[in-house]
């Protein structure tokens, strides 16, 4: 059972990984605020998604859950590949997610808009895309010759950016990344979870008249 908000990008890696392994996942979206839930899961709702196996085994945090429900091939079949998968998963969590959230959440009304922070996030993400571009010029996938948790985690971390703010001008210069992104989201295991992914045609903007806050 996966306890999560509906359509929550942090749950997608685990759900996509389960498509590869065939693990049947029952999604429960409520009640994530109840005392009963909070008492069973010490990390509380701040750690949604939360997974509970049929045997009562509990695990928190999207990437760890994805690891658990993955087949070995997704985790990396040899030590070098599994270490590289770790590297890219951590890269997604620490280098991609903060910038995407800073840039995109205000366009969704989920955070206050701050022009300076948005600009810094945009520049940082461009640096991230450059690193990915270099790598994906000569590699079909991030690790080895097929999809791994590395691709799944990085795709899910970039999802909001690709659908909300990376319009065609912003995508220019990152052709290999976009090719790889589209290849991934069109895999049946991805599309079963994500549905049809429409790349951004016109960037969403946060309202410039909304109150600006210094973070």
């Amino acid at each position: 059972t996966l306890y999560t908000y509906p359509n929550y990008w942090r749950s997608y890696p685990a759900l996509i990984a389960a498509q590869y392994s065939g693990v049947q996942i029952n999604i429960v979206s409520e009640p994530l605020e109840s005392d009963a839930f909070l008492s069973r899961f010490p990390f509380g709702k701040t750690q949604v998604p939360v997974f509970e196996g049929e045997d009562g085994f509990q695990i928190n945090e999207g990437t760890a859950i994805a690891h658990y429900v993955s087949p070995e091939s997704l985790r990396g079949s040899c030590l070098q590949d599994s270490a590289l998968v770790q590297q890219w998963v951590n890269f997604a969590n620490s280098e991609i997610v903060p910038s995407v959230a800073t840039w995109v959440y205000p366009t969704l009304g989920a955070a206050d808009y701050n022009k300076q922070a948005t600009e810094r996030a945009r520049e940082h993400l461009q640096g991230v895309l450059s690193v990915l571009e270099e790598h994906l010029k000569t590699h079909t996938f991030l690790v080895g010759e097929r999809v791994t948790l590395a691709d799944i985690s990085v795709v899910c971390a970039l999802l909001l950016a690709y659908t909300q703010v990376l319009d065609p001008p912003q995508r220019e210069g990152y052709g290999s990344v976009t090719r790889w992104f589209c290849t991934c989201v069109q895999q049946p295991q991805f599309s079963q979870v994500l549905g049809e992914v429409q790349l951004c045609e016109k960037a969403e903007l946060a309202s410039a008249t909304a109150s600006e806050m210094d973070f």
């Binding site: 359509n7 997610v97 959230a101 800073t102 959440y105 969704l108 009304g109 989920a110 955070a111 810094r120």
Partner: protein, 31 residues
């Protein structure tokens, strides 16, 4: 897409600032 749960996330918006501060600190410490 509901933004309510996104708004509850703890995102480290200042991460770049601290990464840069960390880098400069360790470079300074080691000449």
């Amino acid at each position: 897409m509901s933004a309510e749960y996104l708004a509850q996330e703890k995102i480290w918006f200042d991460k770049h600032r601290y990464d840069e501060a960390e880098r400069q600190y360790y470079e300074r410490m080691n000449g």
